[in-house]
């Protein structure tokens, strides 16, 4: 059509001429009324001309000039007022809601000159002449091309782009990419989503929001750690936490938790992240996504991008304040009816305080029915027996957390900065457990000319936590003490009687495992104080338009000082304890320096980007500890005040050199290929094996674009595939046998040999994984479906293999074991309701299922113990899933009935796998309903399947404090029956009818170490998060010096819609290690928190 234009007009307005050409072609004329006079008349005639020829004719006959720009647009301007450069400004808003759009790119067409508009959507740009054309582009909006046409002000309303789901996400090495181009699964969560119902540990806010990510928070006091696992456990005994990277710098984050025999959870350092500073978190789930991080990416990577300042006029100030209160969510179901004692009798108590002579059975709560009778109480006084309330309700206080952040940001087109200061004061539900944390964060970004960009960050965190609670089978575990406290003893009486005249602990029993809880509160103290500095500086040089280079160096340094002391007076060694003190000072450092050079080029439909880079990493840890025993003078906790003392020193360092390269290729914006190659050289491996290579290949095809599928119901469709191979090294000093000199007070220096044999020829660990997935978007993006299937196998695992003790050594570092994981992940984003300026409802559904299988262990090894608890073991066995719970089952007949002996007791049967710590699947339903300035978010979190071994239930059964121990007591005490075990008589096969003393029923199970009843189904559905937010309407605050006021009511962990487990929240572990979600041992109860948040932008 563009050929053969014909015009034959005389004395017609120019407008008619334009119309005529427009009718004959696709071209459109664009002009401004104040530049040309449309009514000026001309006589124009030509025939069969091309558009260029036609425009030449017009140019010669008029005072106008013409220029063809993109999209077949012809810009008309006046030849007379061709001029020099001038300034254009304007404001860019979203066509949807007329709100300003900050960050829109404004580029002068045909050049690389461009600007980014500020926070209020304003921009200014110099154009060379009046016919200049500006291109406005912004993620998620349609690009607009606007001729300036001599106008000094060009305002633009950008329309949202619903036809493409182009979503920019932060990927490995902090490279921003279009999500469509990725061959692997990635989920990005914005800071707002994390900040809604704030957790002091922001990682916990990801629970239920990212498919494939399992987060289990341990209720272990303020600053407790969380178990974070992506796509299942890959390393049987190693670390399975993803790598955390903040602004390109890996962060030190170990995992915390107590051991089986006690201790406390010292946190996992993730809570040092300040939620207010987070811009977004990207979860790189598989090795394919994370391959650029080498071995440390084997468990996936969580990339955290913090906020940068914004280019705007003046300084933006924002203030946010949040207050939350927390209370126990689940407390055990106690029995309220029977006193201390056994066999239905109250014990004979003697001495002062009055204690039963043998600790059991008389310290159990299988005594007499509480009916107002008078007995000698533990203080030796006559007391009327009364039912005591649930001790959890009486003991714990309402916890609270008060967080205030003030941040400043500002800048111009060349330099931006942001500074924030946060203060957090938290009080745990344990009455003396407090946290105080201050964070200062500075971020600066600067452009020097057109070519150089500087980015820098400095974060200082100071925190102090007091009285982290003692956990598991620890004599200082208060929860354990109150759970088995005889049901007639009041907490009040414990509280009012903590020490005797000599200052020694008063307790109702003689077992030091169950101490007076208030004595513990008053006499055992621990505190840790940490100073942490994270700094980063990077320079990016745009050498040419196609070639840039980046150098970045960042350090994460922390200094921690922990102190712990116990006053004299607790019975130990048969006598009152004499007091002790322990103190550790440690420094941890990680320093990373990277360089990365990138060359990108486009050839027609084909574009590529090639990068090459390197990394040097250095880790160092050193600490000094001292401990003292036997306090000399009361009340002074200085090492000099202890009769015997010892010190120890620890040091380790490690370095890794890496070289890597990345390649990204794309064809016509629908076919993408990414490749990564990386080689590491680690100091921890033998020189001959210290180099290891990984690579990944990722393909993504937008088939909807490739095949031009113009289906109405499908907006875009993408399939992707990824393969990766990564390696892993080990810790420092593990390839040589060392002798240590022991610190002793003997007359002789003593040398010891460690119990771990080194492997002189250790190989790097190897994980291979692949994944395939699809992403489909329907109904104008109102429904987006994402599916991933993955498979990974970790071989040659570096682990400490248990040796048979007769070798003289406990373990040996070896390459052993193979574990595979397969799984599915589904994410569905839907907008069931959408109306402009009205009611909107967004739903994000996540679902994931992981299946692990242990393929091999070392040699003929039958199983690898992963964790132990009384009467159970968590194991890895070839052919079985990782984390099977082994315990002794009841003795059963062929039909599964319990076989009951002639005396009415169940018997111990087979030791076998009776549960698994891993869920069958996990999922979340995240809803966001908004109406104008009001929004409601709520997240329902589901865990289906998985088991927890509940030792708390076992203890409460043995001690007779739980509700289920009531069965048969009434009858037994009345002589009319008792507890009748459900099963068949071993002698005659008939249903068992022998009634037994309930005391002996529970003791029998304990004594025979039968764990069946302690294995609890972890299935649960909970309202994890609820946020009701309100943004004050602009007109209300128009006269105030503020821009925005947001107010929200928040709640976390509000209630269970379903919970299978008795007495406890299934998320009640005492450790965040690999098996930390599988054992319950009377940790603190999980908590419900609710509060208010206020955020004001000035």
């Amino acid at each position: 059509q563009s050929e053969g234009l014909s015009v034959n007009l005389s004395n017609q307005p120019i407008k008619v001429v334009f119309n005529s050409i427009q009718e004959q072609s696709d071209y459109r004329f664009f002009y401004s009324d104040d530049v040309i006079d449309l009514n000026e008349r001309y006589s124009i005639s030509f025939s069969n001309k091309s558009i260029q020829e036609a425009l030449e004719i017009l140019t010669s006959k008029t005072q106008l000039s013409f220029k063809i720009v993109e999209e077949k647009l012809i810009v008309v301007s006046n030849q007379a007022i061709q001029s020099s450069a001038f300034l254009v400004k304007g404001r860019i808003v979203s066509a949807t809601d007329n709100e300003p759009l900050p960050g829109v790119n404004v580029v002068l067409q045909g050049t690389t000159t461009g600007k980014v508009c500020d926070f209020d959507g304003n921009y200014e740009i110099e154009v060379p002449n009046e016919s200049a054309v500006l291109v406005f582009s912004f993620i998620g909006f349609k690009k607009q091309v606007v001729p300036v046409n001599a106008r000094p002000v060009v305002n633009v309303a950008l329309e949202e782009d619903v036809s493409s789901i182009e979503e920019v996400v932060v990927t490995a090495l902090s490279i921003e990419r279009d999500k469509n181009s990725l061959g692997y699964s990635i989920t990005q969560v914005s800071g707002d989503d994390i900040n809604g119902a704030k957790e002091s540990n922001p990682i916990n806010s990801l629970a239920g929001k990212v498919s494939g990510l399992q987060i289990t928070k341990s209720p272990t006091g303020v600053d407790g750690s969380s178990r974070v696992v992506l796509r299942g456990v890959a390393s049987m005994l190693g670390n399975n936490r993803p790598l955390f990277v903040i602004d390109g710098i890996p962060m030190n984050a170990g995992y915390g938790g107590a051991g089986r025999w006690g201790g406390k959870d010292s946190g996992d350092a993730l809570s040092d992240l300040n939620p207010e500073d987070i811009e977004s978190m990207s979860v790189l789930k598989g090795a394919g996504a994370a391959a650029a991080y080498g071995s440390r990416g084997a468990n996936g990577v969580i990339l955290i991008t913090t906020k940068k300042g914004k280019n705007k006029k003046g300084i933006g100030v924002s203030f946010s304040s949040g207050y939350t209160a927390e209370t126990p969510m689940v407390t055990p179901d106690f029995q309220y009816e029977y006193t201390q004692g056994a066999f239905g009798q109250y014990p004979t108590l003697a001495g002062n305080p009055a204690k039963p002579l043998a600790d059991y059975p008389w310290i159990w709560s299988y005594g007499t029915k509480i009916e107002g009778q008078t007995e000698t109480n533990w203080l030796g006084q006559e007391e009327q027996m009364t039912r005591q309330p649930n001790p959890y309700d009486a003991f714990f206080r309402t916890g609270s957390s008060f967080v205030n952040t003030i941040s400043f940001d500002g800048g111009n087109e060349n330099t931006t900065f942001r500074a924030s200061i946060t203060n957090q004061d938290s009080k745990g539900i344990m009455p003396n457990n407090d946290l105080s944390r201050q964070t200062i964060n500075l971020r600066g970004f600067s452009k020097l000319g057109e070519k150089l960009e500087f980015d820098s960050k400095l974060t200082y965190i100071r925190s102090k936590v007091e009285n982290r609670p003692y956990l598991a089978e620890d004599g200082s575990n208060i929860v354990q003490s109150i759970s088995i406290l005889p049901r007639n003893i009041s907490l009040e009486s414990m509280k009012n009687n903590t020490v005797d005249a000599d200052g020694n602990m008063l307790d109702w029993n003689i077992d030091p495992t169950f101490a007076n809880p208030y004595w513990v509160l008053e006499n055992i103290y621990n505190a840790d104080e940490k100073n942490r500095l994270q700094g980063m500086f990077s320079v990016k040089w745009d050498i040419t338009d196609n070639f840039n280079a980046l150098v970045r160096s960042g350090v994460d340094y922390s200094n921690a000082n922990s102190k712990e002391h116990e006053n004299p007076g607790r019975p130990s060694d048969g006598n009152p304890g004499k007091g002790s003190v322990a103190q550790t000072m440690g420094n941890t450092m990680e320093w990373n320096t990277d360089f990365l050079a990138t060359y990108s080029k486009e050839y027609n439909d084909f574009s590529f980007s090639l990068s090459a880079g390197g990394n040097y990493r250095y880790n160092k840890y050193n600490s000094i500890s001292q401990g003292g025993r036997v306090m000399k003078v009361p009340g002074l906790y200085h090492i000099s005040n202890y009769e015997s003392f010892g010190t120890s020193e620890w040091f380790s360092e490690k370095s890794v050199y890496s070289l890597y390269s990345l390649g990204q290729f794309s064809y016509k914006n629908y076919l993408y290929l990414d490749v990564t190659a990386r080689n590491d050289w680690s100091s921890t491996l033998p020189l001959s094996n210290n180099s290891y290579f990984y690579h990944s290949e990722n393909v993504s095809l937008l088939f909807s674009e490739a095949f031009n599928l113009n289906w109405d119901w499908l907006d875009t469709g993408k399939i992707r595939a990824s393969f990766a191979k990564v390696g892993n090294d080990t810790g420092a000093y593990e390839i040589a046998q060392y002798y240590s000199i022991q610190q002793t007070q003997t007359d002789f220096p003593l040398a010891g040999i460690g119990g771990q044999l080194p492997h002189f020829d250790l190989q790097p660990e190897e994980t291979e994984s692949w994944e395939v997935g699809t992403n489909l978007s329907f109904l104008k993006n109102r429904l987006v479906f994402d599916f991933t299937y993955y498979y990974s196998v970790s071989d040659n695992q570096i682990m400490n293999v248990d040796l048979t003790p007769s070798t003289g050594y406990g373990t040996k570092k070896m390459n052993a074991g193979k574990l595979q994981n397969t799984g599915y992940e589904v994410q569905l984003n839907a907008k069931p309701l959408e109306s402009k300026n009205g009611l909107n409802w967004d739903v994000i559904l996540t679902w994931s299922k992981n299946k692990s299988e242990v393929e091999e262990l070392y040699g003929d090894m039958e199983f690898l113990p992963l964790a132990e608890e009384f009467h159970m073991m968590i194991q890895a066995r070839p052919g079985e899933a990782y984390g099977m719970i082994y315990t002794t089952d009841y003795k059963r007949d062929a039909f599964g009935n319990k076989l009951i002996d002639k005396d009415g007791f169940a018997q111990a049967g087979e030791w076998k796998a009776m549960g698994n710590i891993n869920p069958d699947w996990i999922g979340g339903i995240n809803n966001r309903i908004s109406y104008k300035d009001l929004s409601l978010n709520f997240l329902i979190d589901v865990q289906m399947g998985g088991d927890v071994y509940s030792w708390g239930k076992a203890y409460m059964g043995l001690f007779g404090t739980s509700v289920e121990t009531l069965e048969g007591r009434e009858e037994w005490n009345a002589g009319t029956g008792g507890f009748v075990e459900d099963g068949v008589s071993e002698s005659n096969g008939q249903p068992n009818t022998v009634a037994i003393d309930p005391t002996m029923r529970w003791y029998n199970i304990y004594n025979r170490q039968i764990g069946t009843e302690w294995i609890q189904d972890a299935t649960n559905v909970r309202l994890r998060e609820l946020v009701l937010a309100y943004k004050l309407p602009s007109k209300w605050i128009a006269k105030l010096p503020v821009e925005n006021v947001n107010f929200s009511l928040v709640g976390r962990n509000l209630f269970f819609l379903y919970r299978a487990m008795d007495h406890f929240d299934p998320e009640t572990g005492f450790s965040s290690g690999n098996t930390g979600n599988g054992i319950e041992h009377l940790s603190l109860p999980s908590t419900t928190s609710y509060g208010v948040n206020l955020k004001i932008n000035f």
């Binding site: 056994a342 003697a350 002579l357 043998a358 600790d359 130990s572 060694d573 048969g574 006598n575 025993r629 009769e643 015997s644 003392f645 010892g646 620890w650 040091f651 490690k654 370095s655 680690s682 100091s683 921890t684 020189l687 420092a732 000093y733 390839i735 040589a736 060392y738 002798y739 240590s740 000199i741 002793t744 007070q745 003997t746 007359d747 002789f748 220096p749 003593l750 040398a751 040999i753 119990g755 044999l757 248990d802 040796l803 048979t804 003790p805 007769s806 070798t807 003289g808 050594y809 406990g810 040996k812 003929d860 090894m861 039958e862 199983f863 132990e868 111990a908 003791y1003 025979r1008 170490q1009």
Partner: protein, 474 residues
């Protein structure tokens, strides 16, 4: 590469060390380490009916065997990881052709190895001996050796050791690194010879042809004769926890009481050592707690009145004994009684009792009184009756080395333990019979299965009722 090497070398430890520091450690661990502690407390002292434990140590006293394996493991690992790991490294260094070849040190190390392997063999039976504790040399699946082989081999090795030590240059020993005898090689050779005698006496009933000539040989060489030659370790009140007296640590934790059988036996003999070993109750009486009571019976006991072990046995500064003059004199009395060597059994018997009482600082008057008018301190009656007297004194004299007490009961059948019957006693898995051994820990069963199965095929089922090779007398 050099940088890596430097970074990956631990500045807080060394890769090469003088064996003397390892030797001192192995020696100390032999008595103060977990192996000895766990052998004595939960198992031997209860099986020997010296103590009665409360709380969860009752299960051992009640002859159960279904512990979560922690108890067996603690004992087994305690010996292998403590003394054996370290002494095997010393032997590796000092043996002919080793990095630090030294025949004197090698000989001393052999004695330490023998004292620990014999303890293992007495508790478990067959154990990895020739290949045991050699993980560092790459032996990760050690084969077991029978009790018979272990005993005979140890006796042979000790013979060589004694000949080396008798003519050794003390400078080549461990001056400054010998917690037992401060490098007194005469005492070391007496120790080696007395240990060899103990081993030979243990097997004399099952293998008289092997044992008897050794016994004769032992008596021809210097033995431990005086208390100052005793193999022991002294503890101080000031010891820090790492090397705190294990007896003291174990005592408080498990609330041990004196065994009723022990208290009554000593009371019956008017033995002045009763006051040494046990603390009287508030009424000034000595009462013991019967071993193996059932829960119901136990709950009837007034535990406040029952004697606890004295500070001499379990105090922080109590001394740990391994081999004493009294034991050696009693073994000599037994050898004389059965005519294996010439000598007056009664005279040897009384010397032994005197040495034992002196060891515990019983006054000379009390010693004379005990020896002069006590029917129990003079050998009387049939040979068997005299044997019972010797064995009973042996059972008392070895304290606190209750492992020897338990072994004595198993070997000689004396003293005769009280019968257990239901329902007063909990009969456990042995029907009330004294356990004859400990079960192998599950770690050994699991990891070293092939060799374990071979061992039990030869020795008998892995039960606590399977008698050891030398346990032939009823």
């Amino acid at each position: 590469d050099d940088e890596f090497k430097e970074i990956n070398s631990n500045p807080n430890a060394v890769t090469d060390i003088d064996d003397e520091y390892l030797f001192a450690n192995a020696v100390l661990q032999s008595l103060r380490g977990n192996g000895n502690t766990y052998a004595q407390f939960p198992f031997a002292s209860q099986y020997a009916h010296v103590y009665t434990g409360l709380s969860n140590k009752m299960f051992i006293d009640r002859y159960y065997d279904n512990f979560t394996s922690a108890e067996y493991r603690d004992l087994y690992e305690g010996i292998f990881y403590g003394p054996i790991r370290h002494i095997q490294d010393v032997i590796r260094m000092t043996k002919p052709g080793g990095d630090r070849e030294n025949e004197v040190r090698h000989a001393m190390a052999q004695v330490v190895a023998a004292m620990n392997f014999s303890r293992l063999a007495d508790a478990f039976g067959s154990v990895p001996y020739q290949q045991g504790g050699l993980g560092q040399e790459g032996n990760l699946y050690p084969e077991f050796d029978s009790v018979e082989f272990i005993y005979k081999d140890m006796m042979n090795k000790l013979k060589e050791v004694i000949s080396v030590l008798q003519s050794a240059d003390a400078k080549k020993g461990y001056p400054g690194a010998d917690p037992f005898f401060n490098n007194d090689l005469d005492k070391w050779s007496r120790f080696a010879n007395s240990l060899r005698l103990r081993l030979a006496m243990r097997i004399r009933l099952v293998a008289p042809d092997d044992a008897n000539p050794v016994i004769v040989e032992c008596l021809s060489l210097p033995l431990i004769e005086e208390n100052e030659q005793n193999v022991r370790n002294e503890n101080q009140d000031s010891d820090i926890s790492e090397f705190q007296n294990p007896a003291y640590n174990q005592y408080g934790y498990w609330k041990w009481k004196m065994s009723d059988f022990f208290v009554e036996t000593l009371k019956n003999m008017e033995d002045p050592r009763l006051e040494v070993f046990a603390a009287a109750n508030a009424n000034g009486e000595y009462l013991g707690l019967p071993n193996g009571l059932s829960d119901t019976e136990l709950s009837k006991q007034n535990l406040e009145l029952i004697a606890v072990p004295s500070d001499q046995l379990v105090g922080k500064a109590s001394t740990i004994y391994y081999l004493t003059a009294a034991e050696v004199w009693l073994l000599r009395a037994e050898a004389a009684l059965f005519g294996l060597v010439p000598g007056d059994a009664n005279e040897l018997y009384q010397t032994a009792i005197r040495k034992s009482l002196q060891q515990w600082q019983v006054s000379e008057e009390a010693i004379s009184a005990y020896l002069s008018d006590n029917q129990y301190t003079t050998l009387v009656g049939s040979t068997e009756r005299q044997f019972e007297q010797i064995a009973t004194q042996l059972w008392i004299a070895v304290l606190p080395n209750a492992m020897e007490g338990w072994s004595t009961i198993r070997r000689t059948g004396y003293p005769v333990l009280p019968n257990r019957y239901a329902p007063k006693y909990d009969l456990g898995v042995t029907d009330g019979e004294l356990p004859t051994r400990c079960k192998y820990p599950s770690s050994e069963v699991n990891i070293n299965q092939e060799n374990y199965l071979k061992a039990i095929a030869e020795q008998g089922p892995d039960e606590i009722t399977t008698p050891l090779w030398w346990d032939v007398k009823n």
